[in-house]
């Protein structure tokens, strides 16, 4: 009998709490999905919390590994649980063509001209300008690697290598290791025999590769010493190194891949208005800079760069002094070839 009273009491209390909380958050919520880990930490502390405090809109966060599938299945099934997602450049173009995203209403967020041209699109505003660079533990490797050819050199640097388990990134790195100059990488990939050349180079390193998929995985591999080097998301690496007092370094001069992630609003998002509200809040240089301060990645705002300390500027992949080593992802190439090269890459890797 007593236990039954308990159950009733608990249910009534739960209902009361739910009713109360929905009153407290009268301005609703917005569900924002980022890349997880330190990336979400930086956005949460730097931007989401202040936004929630100012606008009274509750920010509900989620994370994923960039699978377009998770967005497609929401749109196709009509049960949309995410309002805003940060997507990579190729996924931005494909999803925009397929009508997965709302077009951005630039008038509502202060105009398109305020942003750097390559950081905005009809369907998106850049959430971060990021990079994949050659990372190593400087406490283990005393003679820093200077090129991707060094990454391939298992005599000079014995031990295993981490690599991201995607065709995109891996093929570019293989060509750089094979001596292709940074500005000729996509030209080579587009030319006949270019893709085969990349796979042939990958054959050499194959027995030494440990494949990873998420940011958390490569940090674990590198920190535990399971691999001596890995291509790594530079911002996550630098932030983790600072937090855990590890001597993880990026060999910028080896050449790195520069990418742009975009905030997109899903088509038919239940809290679309709040998502637009968030973009309007985010589209201020001083707000966007709060992310860069916590995670050394670029923002779509040219002015926010000036608000950063010299230390943060030095860690940014989009800093002017690193331009000579930067290889920008050729997203149109990947939109065209992603399916085919992914299949080829999988067949190659699985053998």
């Amino acid at each position: 009998m007593l236990s039954r009273i308990w159950v009733w009491g608990a249910s009534i209390a739960t209902c009361a709490i739910m009713a109360f909380s929905s009153v407290a958050m009268a301005d609703g919520k917005v569900v924002i999905t980022g890349w997880g880990g330190t990336w979400n930490d930086a956005y949460r502390d730097g931007i989401w919390k202040p936004f929630a405090a100012e606008s009274k809109v509750e920010v509900v966060e989620d994370q994923y590994n960039g699978e377009l599938a998770k967005i497609r299945s929401q749109i196709e099934s009509g049960t949309i649980t995410w309002d805003m997602v940060s997507v990579e450049g190729a996924e931005l173009l494909i999803g925009c063509q397929e009508g997965l995203y709302e077009k951005i209403d630039f008038a509502a967020i202060g105009g398109r001209e305020q942003f750097m041209p390559y950081a905005v699109d009809d369907c998106g505003v850049s959430s971060d300008i990021w990079a994949t660079g050659l990372a190593y533990d400087a406490d283990v490797i005393k003679d820093p690697p200077k090129s991707w050819a060094d990454f391939w050199d298992v005599k000079k640097y014995p031990g295993k290598r981490g690599m991201r388990s995607t065709a995109k990134e891996t093929l570019e790195e293989a060509l750089m290791a094979d001596g292709v100059p940074i500005d000729k990488v996509y030209e080579t990939l587009r030319s006949p025999g270019g893709v085969d050349r990349a796979f042939k180079k990958l054959d050499e390193l194959k027995p030494y590769i440990v494949w990873w998929e998420s940011g958390a995985q490569f940090l674990e591999l590198l920190s535990s010493g399971e691999v001596v080097m890995t291509p790594a998301f530079t911002g996550e690496t630098i932030t983790t190194a600072q937090q855990n007092k590890r001597n993880l370094k990026i060999a910028w001069d080896a050449g790195f891949l520069l990418g742009v992630d975009h905030w997109v609003i899903l088509k038919g998002a239940p809290n679309k208005d709040n998502a637009v509200k968030f973009l309007a809040y985010y589209a201020k240089p001083e707000v966007a800079a709060e992310f860069s301060k916590r995670m050394p990645y670029g923002t779509p705002h040219p002015k926010s760069y000036d608000l950063l300390s010299t230390e943060v500027k030095a860690a940014m992949p989009s800093a002017p002094d690193k331009k000579q080593w930067a290889l920008e992802f050729d997203y149109p190439f990947w939109v065209e070839n992603l399916d085919d090269l992914t299949a080829k890459f999988q067949a190659w890797a699985a053998k």
Binding site: K160, D339, A347, A350
Partner: protein, 391 residues
């Protein structure tokens, strides 16, 4: 009366809606071609008149395609069409997207759809794109099953094996079988003595030992797999131990190799082998062995000729259980193995979650399903279903 029938059939209804219906739709996915045939109805009718032997289709086929694309563009279905055609021939995506964008304009311009479309993109004059459309226009397609079997339709219409570079899944199915068989045998070798020991111990000791057998069931599969990665990695406890005792000079790499897959899978699947064998052995009267020995058999002979044959139903049940479970393993090889140690389920997951090629995922899944069913039937026919005892 009515209520009795209704209540008794409720579980069946539940099974039908929650199991058979999703299974059937999943199976259908592997041949479904609605994304292409649904968007190209007029083209499908027009292209039937093309003889395919030489040249490219005539003006009316081009016209039908432009109208189809214009309609797809209006409904927002052109991207889906482009994606599915791109699986057939790489390059179709941009070809279709550009043509769909230009379709209303092409219709406004009118005559010579053929030259206008080729002017837009010269690839429209290539036969291979048209052959692919002509081949893949029907409501069902064999494309996904062919891919799962490493086959392809060549431009002359014949079916051939893919080149060694592109072929993949036959080898992966072979690997899936090999890993499952190895794991089953390893489990059997380890589980049989354990089960024998527990079954022949006094009840109090046996209960305590059983606790250790079922203990692994209480922790999650994910945690146990991850734990193996930590134990087996180069800077992990196992290597520390080996180095300290001087058994090896440099760390051995076990994590992310085939050995790690065997170790972790055997660890996780072992109870499924031990329990059926144990419960079978419990049912073997102990005086059978004693009788055999009293009639002059050595203990080994008594075991081999009396006890072992009686324990076979348990062994058969355990092997079948472990083997079938191992066939579908995904998360453990994913965590502890390398890319060349993945089994077929890994590819099903990849095509479901990452690439969104559900047709291929369904075809691979269906093939695995049929394979499992066949193995079960052969096994049941050889061993006899009545002899497999799970209780």
């Amino acid at each position: 009366m009515f209520w009795t029938v209704a209540l008794l059939s409720a579980p069946l209804l539940f099974l039908a809606t929650a199991f058979f219906y999703p299974l059937a739709t999943f199976l259908y996915r592997s041949v479904d071609n609605a994304e292409i045939s649904g968007s190209l109805e007029a083209t499908g009718k027009a292209i039937a008149t093309w003889d395919r032997m030489s040249g490219i289709p005539g003006e009316e086929v081009f016209r039908a395609l432009v109208y189809d694309l214009s309609e797809a563009h209006e409904n927002g279905r052109q991207a889906l069409l482009a994606r599915y055609l791109n699986y057939r021939v790489n390059g179709f995506r941009t070809l279709i997207m550009a043509a769909a964008d230009a379709a209303p304009d092409l219709i406004a311009r009118g005559t010579s759809y053929q030259s206008n479309l080729i002017e837009l993109d010269p690839r429209w004059a290539e036969r291979r794109y048209w052959l692919a459309i002509a081949r893949e226009i029907g409501p069902v397609t064999s494309f996904y099953f062919m891919t799962a079997a490493d086959l392809q339709i060549k431009d002359d219409g014949s079916i051939g094996r893919k080149s060694d570079e592109d072929a993949l899944y036959v080898a992966i199915f072979g690997r899936t079988l090999l890993i499952s068989i190895t794991v089953t045998l390893l489990c059997l070798v380890i589980a049989y003595p354990i089960a024998f020991l527990v079954a022949s111990s006094p009840p109090k000791t046996a209960n305590r030992m059983m606790l250790f057998v079922v203990l692994p069931f209480w922790s999650s599969l994910l945690i146990r797999s991850t734990a193996w990665v930590i134990l087996l990695q180069e800077k992990g406890p196992l290597n520390d131990l080996l180095l300290t005792f001087g058994l090896v000079n440099e760390p051995v790499s076990i994590a992310y190799t085939r050995s790690a897959v065997f170790i972790a899978m055997v660890d996780i699947l072992l109870p499924f082998m031990t329990l059926p064998i144990y419960s079978n052995m419990k049912g073997i009267p102990t005086h059978y062995m004693k009788a055999a020995i009293s009639l002059g058999a050595t203990p080994f002979q008594a075991f081999r000729r009396v006890y072992f044959p009686l324990s076979l139903p348990g062994v058969a049940a355990g092997c079948l259980l472990v083997f079938v479970l191992a066939l579908g393993y995904y998360i453990t090889p994913d965590l502890v193995g390398g890319r060349s140690d993945q089994m077929i389920s890994w590819f099903v997951a990849q095509y479901t979650n990452k690439v969104v090629n559900w047709g291929l995922a369904a075809a691979l899944g269906t093939t695995l399903f049929i394979l499992t069913l066949l193995i079960y039937l052969v096994f049941a026919w050889q061993v006899g279903v009545s002899r497999i005892r799970l209780e």
